[in-house]
């Protein structure tokens, strides 16, 4: 009888509670993007390449990238990737509609030519001028960020950018690009589960396909 109590106490001590974390703990990611890189542009293999989110400002203030990067190792593709985002995008990266804020992020691989650990662009994603060049892009997925989801925001997106604005949640939302029908001028987005796989293609392929279904504006 005593053995049973001791055994139960031992099991309680061994099994009771949360897993602890070490000093390399960065917090809980708000979203983890997984997928596969099919291929990238031929770039300088000696330079570091990173996966990042480039937030597009509709006002044309210039694209802003998130400081969170996932290094791309090796040159053998296709290769899997994982990008964990712990922080929301800075406010300046979001589009301000007056009554709502919404971030629209491209999932891109860039070549860090200036070795500053972030994408430094001039002009558009397909610019071929220095300093950093985009070598790959997910053309089927866009990452949205909404600090707050209000009825006004959903109304604004309904019939426009989003096919299913009611699925929009506060925080990060992964979307799939939906090509425009013959009657529509622009491609649209559909919110999908955040853990859906993402495919990244080389910019050469992206340009050859005219950005696929990413003609949103």
């Amino acid at each position: 009888m005593k053995t049973k109590y001791i055994g139960a106490l031992a099991l309680l001590l061994l099994a009771c509670g949360d897993d602890l974390v070490d000093g390399d703990y960065a917090g809980e990611p708000r979203i983890v993007l997984n997928g596969q890189i099919q291929e990238l542009n031929d770039g300088d293999p000696s330079l570091d390449r990173y996966l990042t989110i480039v937030w597009e400002k509709a006002s044309g203030d210039g694209d802003i990238s998130t400081p969170q990067l996932a290094p791309i190792a090796g040159a053998n593709f296709p290769a899997g990737f994982t990008l964990a985002l712990f922080d929301p995008p800075q406010r300046s990266a979001l589009n301000d509609y007056g009554d709502a804020l919404l971030g629209l992020g491209y999932i891109a691989v860039f070549n860090d030519s200036d070795q500053d650990g972030t994408i430094s662009m001039s002009g558009s994603l397909d610019s071929d001028t220095a300093p950093d060049l985009v070598e790959g892009l997910a053309t089927s997925n866009i990452l949205l960020y909404a600090p707050v989801v209000s009825p006004e925001l959903q109304d604004r997106l309904r019939g426009g950018l989003l096919l299913n604005p009611e699925a929009l949640e506060p925080g990060f939302n992964l979307t799939q690009a939906v090509c425009a029908s013959a009657q529509e001028d622009f491609d649209r987005l559909r919110i999908i589960p955040n853990d859906a796989p993402i495919t990244i293609e080389s910019m050469e392929t992206v340009l050859a396909n005219n950005y696929g279904c990413l003609n949103l504006f």
Binding site: A10, L12, L13, L14, C16, G17, D18, D19, L20, V21, D22, G23, D24, Y25, A26, G27, E28, P29, R30, V32, T82, A84, F86, D87
Partner: protein, 518 residues
């Protein structure tokens, strides 16, 4: 002139006992009947008592017969010869003393001498029937109260006999002292290295029984002290309390002086001024026990010259030191070192001591990236003779300061265990094991999502410790712990993509403490 008279008086008194014609038959028999366990100290009891009688009791060595493991016929023969010598050497009108002492096995009917029996009545009649003016029969054996016919009574109030004086007339008659009642067993003590009764009788005759501090030990004083100490020291034994008994049929003007310790030649004196229980061992702490005495007021005891290890025990402390006994001189114990509390328990002077202490220290971090934690603890211990059992409650705190995230790691643990302690001079070293449980709580300060985490874990530790006595039970401690605990860590990305890994990190602690024993 005055000095000469004093010297003459001393000379007369020191030979007064010898002039009385004192004879003794000392019988010691370790082996009783075949079914009885062999005693260890009966023969030695007889020998030690005979030594006291010849050194300070006025018994001439040629008048003391010591029989070791005798047959009944040898006893009869020895007693008959002594009585014959008494009749021829001592005129009827002179003062003469015959003392017969027996230590060994017995029952209500007879002494047991190596499988043969000598009836009580015969021994008693041979002794009482002697021509000596004063006949004394002392018996240290089971059921010996049958000789006095005293059964199962508590110790009576001290009886009064006339004070002995230097110009005394020896009382006439007989006295019987027995170590136990007719229903009780008489016991030996390994700690005293003798039987309880004879040990205390010897201590009494050496001077501890001198209640009026007149330098002589009377039969009444010797019996009173011996009976008191025998009852006290057998009260907690397995064999049960032992009540010595007496039978006196005396007439005269004064009591029987058994010894004059102050006049003994070849001995030195030790003046015990402070009340307590004293133990003197010849040569050193492991030497033979020379004297054990319970002193309630100032006493002088007489011992052979030499170096002795002295212990004085009080209920809470033990005092130890060495003393040199010099022939013809009176010494007092010098400064004695105090042995307290847990040390006293380990020496067997007390059953239990307790202690409480507070500790502060640091340890190795159990999770990488965190600073070495500081800690405080409260500990309690129970000190037994061969083991110290302790319990401890600890609180630890460590921190981590990252670029985007700060964290705090708090641990509350409870441990219990046991240590074996060894006294090395002023330091008590101990080593042992502890087991316990800890509740570990991680909290984060960040604008990222980082919920707090808690876990209950088991822990196992080895302990090594040094305690330094300060004063009056206070001590300083230095303790090191080395062990491990069982945790589970989240590895890789957190959330659904994290994996759980078991880990047993090294747990190393160092702490300083202060505490009190009682």
């Amino acid at each position: 002139m005055k000095a000469a008279l004093v010297a003459l008086a001393l000379c007369l008194s020191c030979s007064a006992l010898a002039q009385e014609g004192r004879y003794a038959l000392m019988i010691g028999a370790n082996q009783g009947d075949a079914i009885e366990p062999r005693l260890r100290y009966a023969v030695e009891d007889a020998r030690r008592l005979s030594s006291v009688l010849t050194s300070m009791g006025g018994f001439l060595p040629e008048n003391v017969v010591v029989l070791q493991e005798p047959t009944p016929d040898r006893v009869r023969d020895a007693l008959a010869r002594l009585n014959a010598r008494l009749r021829s050497e001592q005129p009827r009108t002179s003062s003469s003393v015959l003392m017969v002492f027996y230590s060994g096995h017995a029952d209500a009917l007879a002494l047991h001498l190596g499988g043969a029996h000598l009836p009580w009545t015969e021994l008693k009649n041979l002794t009482i029937g002697s021509s000596a003016a004063m006949r004394l029969l002392v018996i240290d054996a089971c059921r010996s109260g049958v000789a006095t016919r005293v059964k199962g009574t508590a110790l009576e109030a001290p009886f009064a006999l006339p004070e002995a004086s230097s110009a005394q007339t020896l009382p006439e008659g007989f006295a019987i002292l027995s170590s136990a009642t007719a229903q009780e067993s008489a016991q030996e003590s390994d700690a005293l290295q003798g039987s309880f009764f004879t040990h205390h009788l010897i201590a009494a005759l050496r001077g501890t029984a001198d209640s009026n501090d007149d330098g002589q030990i009377t039969l009444a004083e010797a019996y009173q002290y011996t009976a008191d100490r025998t009852v006290a020291s057998t009260a907690a034994t397995l064999g049960g309390v032992q009540h010595p008994t007496y039978l006196f049929e005396l007439k005269g003007r004064s009591g029987l002086v058994l010894t004059r310790p102050g006049d003994a030649r070849g001995l030195g004196a030790l003046r015990l001024q402070t009340p307590g229980q004293y133990f003197l061992r010849a040569g050193g702490p492991q030497g033979a026990l020379a004297l054990e005495a319970n002193v309630s007021k100032r006493r002088t005891v007489h011992l052979r010259p030499g170096r002795y290890f002295l212990q004085r025990r009080t209920p809470r402390r033990l005092y130890e030191g060495e003393v040199e006994i010099i022939e013809g001189k009176t010494r007092t114990p010098g400064a004695l070192a105090a042995v307290e509390y847990a040390r006293l328990v380990r020496k067997g002077g007390q059953k239990l001591a307790l202690s409480a202490s507070v500790w502060g220290g640091t340890s190795l971090p159990i999770l990488s990236g965190f600073s070495p934690p500081w800690e405080v603890a409260l500990a309690m211990a129970m000190h037994l003779r061969f083991l110290t059992i302790d319990a401890r409650v600890d609180y630890q705190r460590a921190s981590l300061n990252g670029e985007r995230l700060s964290a705090r790691l708090q641990t509350v643990s409870i441990q219990a265990g046991a240590r074996a302690a060894y006294d090395l001079g002023p330091v008590a070293l101990s080593a042992g094991l502890r087991v316990g449980g800890a509740w570990i709580h991680q909290s984060f300060q960040t604008d990222r999502i980082a919920p707090a985490r808690s876990r209950l874990v088991p822990m196992f530790l080895g302990v090594i410790r040094a305690d330094f006595s300060i004063y009056d039970g206070w001590f300083l401690g230095l303790e090191g712990q080395l062990g491990t605990l069982y945790i589970r860590r989240s590895a890789g990305l957190s959330g659904d993509q994290a994996s759980s890994q078991a880990d047993t990190p090294l747990l190393g602690r160092l702490a300083l403490g202060v505490g009190k024993q009682w």
